[in-house]
Structure formats: structure tokens, C-alpha cells
């Protein structure tokens, strides 16, 4: 069996005195859609942000497609942070979609997607334009090509955010609570896009509070609490028949009816 696409071993991270990740081991195979769930403060967002080195981890390793993300060994086999160029090249292969979209407000929807294509992948303008247009059509925003982010609804902005990330053809896509900032009626349109990406075999790691989403789209659910992975398995096992006490408590808090339903 080959190595997992995303291979996390012994990952530790502290913010000052607080140890947020206390040794995470997690392997994610190509094509898997993994939902990371857990109470706030459990470290799931930090874990996600370590994978593209937006957060610098302290110990352990993260390999994406066999390559260590944030560090390299120098001639004396000492660990040192990667240089800016290499780090950027690695990040270009790891897509990320943010809770608050973070579209570039001075650029149109199309330009938001084209920026990475031209400046990072070095594609000619015309080709980048075609790819970006294609993705906007794909997420149902063909008529919003020239709109600035401020002219779009939250759901539309987030769909541009997804298009911006996947247009780079990443090996893995990180989704950080991408529907948490949306009005409830806009959640569906965003999840539909993610669902269609999942069907096409996009590898995704999804931090989410939407259990329905974890169940429908994900083929694996990882429950984290206090910086550790406590439960890891298929959605039906993890969400419907939780044996772990803390997971039960978490699911009950999320949905008070959970405790009442028969399992």
C-alpha cells in the first residue's frame, strides 16, 4: 500500500503556554473526503492551517504527496523552515477556502481566480481567462464574471472562493468552516459545489459543524477534542453509533434531539 496523500505524524503545536495539538497522526488517501469535527478549541482549525503552513507547527511532520510541507533538512540533517519560494510552490498545490471568504476586494470575481493562475502557475492571460471563466460557470456564476466581491452575496462570494482554490488544481483542498458565515438559505448552494467536487474525486479535508454535510459528502469523520484525535471512522459509525463519551456529549450539545433518538 502506498503512502497516504496527506501524511501527518506526531504533529504538535503550542500557542505560548497552551498546547493546541498534542500529537496528531492522520493519513488521508487520495480521493477521501474527511470531515474534521469537534468542540471549539479542539484544535481542528489549527490542524487544518498547519497543513498549508499558515500555522507553523512545532514538532512532527506533515507530508503532502511525499513532501514535507513547512520544513526541510539542511546538510547537517537539522530541521529548518523552508524558504519563501519553495513554501509558496508547496502551498500552490494545497487549496484553501476560508470561513470569511477572503476574496480580494479590489479584483473582480474573474480576476480573483486569474491571479493565482497567471502569477503562480505562470499561465498566459488568455488561458487563465478561459480557465477562470470555466470555473465561474461551473459554480453557477457565469453572469458575475466582472462583479466585485462587494457586489456578491455571501454564498456567491464563497463559490468564487472555492473556484479560486480549485482552479489552481490542488492535490488537496482544505475547507475551513466554509458555511459558518452564511445565511442559512445560502448554505445549500455552497455545499452543492463541494458535493460535486467530491463526486469528481477531489481530496478534501473539511472542518465543519454541519453534521448532515459530514454524513452526506464525507466518507470519513475525524473527531478531535483537546488537541487529540479521539475517533476516526466512516460517518455512519462515528455519527450514529458513537461509543466515545466525549463524542456523545459533543453531538448531544450540537443537537439536543440526538440523545433522544434511538441508535
Amino acid at each position: 500500500m502506498s503512502d497516504p496523500l496527506v501524511d501527518i505524524k506526531g504533529l504538535k503545536k503550542s500557542f505560548g503556554e497552551v498546547e493546541v495539538l498534542k500529537g496528531i497522526d492522520l493519513g488521508i488517501d487520495s480521493g477521501q473526503v474527511v470531515s474534521l469535527i469537534g468542540p471549539s478549541g479542539s484544535g481542528k482549525t489549527t490542524l487544518l492551517r498547519c497543513i498549508n503552513f499558515l500555522v507553523e507547527y512545532d514538532e512532527g511532520s506533515i507530508r503532502v504527496d511525499g513532501r514535507e510541507v513547512g520544513y526541510e533538512d539542511d546538510a547537517n540533517s537539522d530541521r529548518k523552515p523552508r524558504g519563501e519560494r519553495e513554501l509558496s510552490a508547496i502551498r500552490a498545490q494545497i487549496g484553501m477556502v476560508f470561513q470569511l471568504f477572503y476574496l480580494f476586494p479590489h479584483l473582480s470575481a474573474l480576476e480573483n481566480i486569474m491571479l493565482g493562475l497567471t502569477k503562480v502557475r505562470g499561465l498566459p492571460k488568455a488561458e487563465a481567462h478561459d480557465i477562470a471563466t470555466g470555473w465561474l460557470e461551473r459554480v453557477g456564476l457565469a453572469d458575475k464574471v466582472d462583479s466585485l466581491p462587494a457586489q456578491l452575496s455571501g454564498g456567491q462570494q464563497q463559490r468564487v472562493g472555492i473556484a479560486r482554490a480549485v482552479a489552481m488544481e490542488p492535490k488537496v483542498l482544505l475547507l475551513d468552516e466554509i458555511t459558518s458565515a452564511l445565511d442559512p438559505e445560502l448554505v445549500g448552494e455552497v455545499l452543492a459545489v463541494v458535493q460535486s467536487l467530491a463526486r469528481e474525486g477531489m481530496t478534501m479535508i473539511v472542518v465543519t459543524h454541519e453534521m448532515a454535510f459530514a454524513r452526506d459528502v464525507g466518507n470519513r469523520v475525524v473527531f478531535m477534542d483537546e488537541g487529540r484525535v479521539l475517533v476516526d471512522g466512516p460517518p455512519t459509525d462515528v455519527l450514529d453509533n458513537p461509543e466515545n463519551e466525549r463524542l456523545r456529549t459533543f453531538l448531544t450539545r450540537l443537537n439536543p434531539h440526538f440523545a433522544l433518538e434511538p441508535h
Partner: protein
């Protein structure tokens, strides 16, 4: 009154010197100040500290002291500057500190998520700055920066004290000959006002030009 009008060409010569000093000071301080402001915002501690100390120190000194130091103090250290150069050096050193702070403020006003999103698509540092951060920060940078330009134009009057014949000293020389201070001072005030009024008009126009960027 007639004398005042006859002295106008002389005042215009002074005005040109004032504009020349202002332009040189503004341009050099813009380039160096923005570079140091970026260093202060993103640099490692070894770069940040010297910039921080420079900025705080210079801003804590009256410009006039800086001008006197450049003209009377530096020769003692073996550096002889003519009055024009000394004036430009002192005013530039002063303006740089303001541009540093304006730059830092403008950059920090941009949500950190913009930098993260730019990192996430794989843009290297300088691309993040030029394609994502600067285009947004320029709107926050312009209003305070144009204030400092106006400040530089007005502050340049101090160089008359080390004998640079700018608009201010030209006025005083004319008054010394005509003994008619009022008309000359009024003419001078109007000229200074026109410079700064055109600057603040430009500022407003530029602000509205960049105001399409909303968060």
C-alpha cells in the same frame, strides 16, 4: 503696493525653490519611507528595531532642530553640506519617519485574511505585497500621506532660517527693501494656501478614485 508687484518675480524664484525642495523631499521620503514601513511591518526583529528607533527618535525632535543639526552640526563631524542640501537632508529624514508610520498603518488596516488568502494560492511574499496588499492599502495610505506632503510644503519655510532663499526668505528680503510687510505677507500666504489647497483637492479626488474598494 507698486513695489510689492514689482517684487513678484523675486517671489516666484523663491516659490520655485520651495516647490523644488518639497518635490525632492516628498519623492525621496516616499521611496525610502515605504521601504522602511514594509520592513517595520514584516521584517524580523533585527530589521524592525532599528526602524522603530529611527522613527520614534526623529519624530520626537522638532524639525527646526534637525535642520540646524544638518547645517551647523554635521560639519563638526566632518560633513559639510551647503544650505540647500542640508535643508533637504533634514526635511527628508523627518518626512521618512512619517511615511514609515503611514505605510505601517495602511498595511495593518488590511485584514490579515487577505495575506492568508494570498499565501494559500501560493503567491510569494513580494507578489502578495504588490498584487494583494498594496492595491488595497493605497486608499488608506493616500489621505494621511497627502497631509504630510502639505506639511512638507509648509515646513519647508523653516529652511529660510539657514539662508536658503525659498518663498519665505524671498518674502522677507522684499519686505526688507520695501518696508511694506502686509501686501507681501498676504501674497505669500495666498501662494502657500494655493499649494496646499490644490494638494487637498488632489487628495479628495484620489480618495474617491480608490473608494470603489469596499470590504
Amino acid at each position: 503696493m507698486k513695489a510689492a508687484f514689482e517684487s513678484l518675480p523675486f517671489l516666484v524664484d523663491g516659490l520655485l525653490v520651495t516647490l523644488q525642495i518639497t518635490a525632492i523631499v516628498v519623492l525621496i521620503s516616499l521611496v525610502i519611507g515605504v521601504a522602511m514601513g514594509v520592513a517595520l511591518t514584516y521584517g524580523s526583529a533585527w530589521i524592525r528595531w532599528p526602524v522603530r528607533i529611527y522613527s520614534d527618535f526623529i519624530r520626537g525632535i522638532p524639525v527646526l532642530v534637525l535642520i540646524f543639526f544638518a547645517y551647523y552640526g554635521l560639519p563638526a563631524m566632518g560633513l559639510n553640506l551647503d544650505s540647500f542640501t542640508a535643508a533637504v537632508v533634514a526635511l527628508t529624514a523627518f518626512k521618512i519617519s512619517h511615511v514609515i508610520e503611514t505605510t505601517r498603518g495602511a498595511i495593518q488596516s488590511i485584514h490579515h485574511g487577505q495575506m492568508e488568502a494570498a499565501k494559500a494560492i501560493g503567491l510569494p511574499f513580494w507578489q502578495r505585497l504588490f498584487s494583494v496588499i498594496f492595491p488595497q492599502a493605497v486608499r488608506r495610505f493616500l489621505p494621511p500621506w497627502i497631509n504630510t506632503v502639505a506639511d512638507a510644503a509648509k515646513g519647508s519655510a523653516l529652511v529660510s532660517l539657514i539662508g536658503v532663499v525659498d518663498l519665505m526668505l524671498a518674502m522677507q528680503k522684499v519686505i526688507g527693501r520695501t518696508f511694506e510687510p502686509m501686501p507681501i505677507y498676504i501674497a505669500g500666504a495666498i501662494i502657500y494656501f494655493l499649494i496646499n489647497y490644490s494638494l487637498s483637492t488632489t487628495s479628495r479626488r484620489m480618495e474617491s478614485r480608490f473608494s470603489y474598494i469596499r470590504e
